[in-house]
Amino acid sequence: MDYFKKMKGITKSPPVVSYTEMLWSWIGAFLGIGAVAYINFNFLEKTDFVMVIGSFGASAVLIYGAIKSPLAQPRNFVGGHLVSAIIGVASYKIFHSQMWLAASIAVATAIVGMHATKTLHPPGGATSLIAVIGSSKIHNLGFMYTVIPVGVGSVIMLVVALLVNNVPKHRKYPEFWL
């Protein structure tokens, strides 16, 4: 196919979802983000730990708003965050003298790491980036970042997804576990 012709696109956008789908996406995201944010702001504020990171907002889109997507399944969601967190922290530790390099290597390697482990989850890219460009609180966590907030936080959100996404008759989650 001609190089520029490819930029025209070949197909149509998927159809809009129903209002009930929108409502259940809202409820799931409200409860999922609510859970991790509540813990973060009410229990962890004065500690060294955090429970909510920006990439969880992106995950909420998938695990509450596009629950059939392969990218939104438990393996991808939890696995993608964990793989990316490890790569992000390692990248910061090795390349922190050159922050631009640490950031770009973190994200690029996270994508490859997720692909290789069949855990591709787009918000994982943000998780690895946050490990590099995040606050000093994040930096001080070191590899603990992969446990709290990333590991525990994503498991909490997964539990909410399992509870909420299976309430409506026409919705079911997950499509697969591993």
Partner: protein, 207 residues
């Protein structure tokens, strides 16, 4: 004839051409957000269909689709009798068996046509032309002959376990319309015609 048979085969291998709108409509009917574009779905569908057909072509054997009550004639059977048998059963070809029941050839409408009148008479219309020109029936010279005189030999046969894919290839390559099915002792147990193949493939693939 050749073109027609090739079309039939292509038809088998080609999935129903669904449009983007068909896919979008289906996506609307399925609740929730499907993380795939119509074009990608179509590609998946077409490749999956091809795999399904290949699997079925391999999975279905001659024994599954053959007609078991085979009408056949002996090599000694007169052509007049042979023609009567084919006409009364409404079939266009029959296997010809030898003294020990082995299949020695196949006789079809084409063989009759080919042995009537001149060598150009390879279609029904050519026969009509020759009849009208010469003012006599060109089938008469065949009257005293036997099945073995005009049959196509050796017979192209398959065994009971020959997969559908191979049968389809035989039909196309040899440009024939039916193939006798033999068991391990080379005894005639059935016959597979193009109609059998067509019916089976479509019902199986669609079901």
């Amino acid at each position: 004839m050749k073109k027609y048979s090739r079309n039939r085969q292509e038809y088998l291998k080609k999935p129903v051409d669904i449009s983007d709108d068909d896919i979008l409509e289906a996506m609307r009917e399925i609740e929730g957000y499907l993380d795939i574009t119509p074009a990608d779905f179509k590609e998946v569908y077409q490749i999956a269909y091809k795999h399904a057909v290949e699997r079925l072509m391999h999975f279905i054997k001659a024994r599954d689709i053959m007609t078991k009550e085979v009408v056949f004639v002996n090599k000694e059977t007169s052509l007049q009798k042979t023609a009567e048998i084919m006409a009364s059963h409404g079939i266009s070809g029959v296997p010809v068996t030898g003294d020990n029941g082995e299949v020695t050839g196949v006789i079809s409408e084409k063989d009759f046509l080919f042995h009537m009148g001149s060598k150009e008479a390879t279609s029904f219309m050519m026969i009509i032309v020759q009849c009208l020109k010469n003012n006599r029936c060109v089938a008469v010279p065949l009257r005293d002959q036997k099945a073995e005189n005009i049959m196509t030999k050796p017979a192209i046969t398959v065994d009971e376990n020959t997969p559908l894919s191979e049968i389809v290839n035989i039909f196309a390559q040899k440009n024939i319309n039916r193939v006798p099915v033999l068991d391990l002792e080379k005894k005639l147990v059935g016959i597979v015609s193009r109609a059998d193949v067509l019916q089976t493939s479509f019902s199986e693939v669609k079901g």
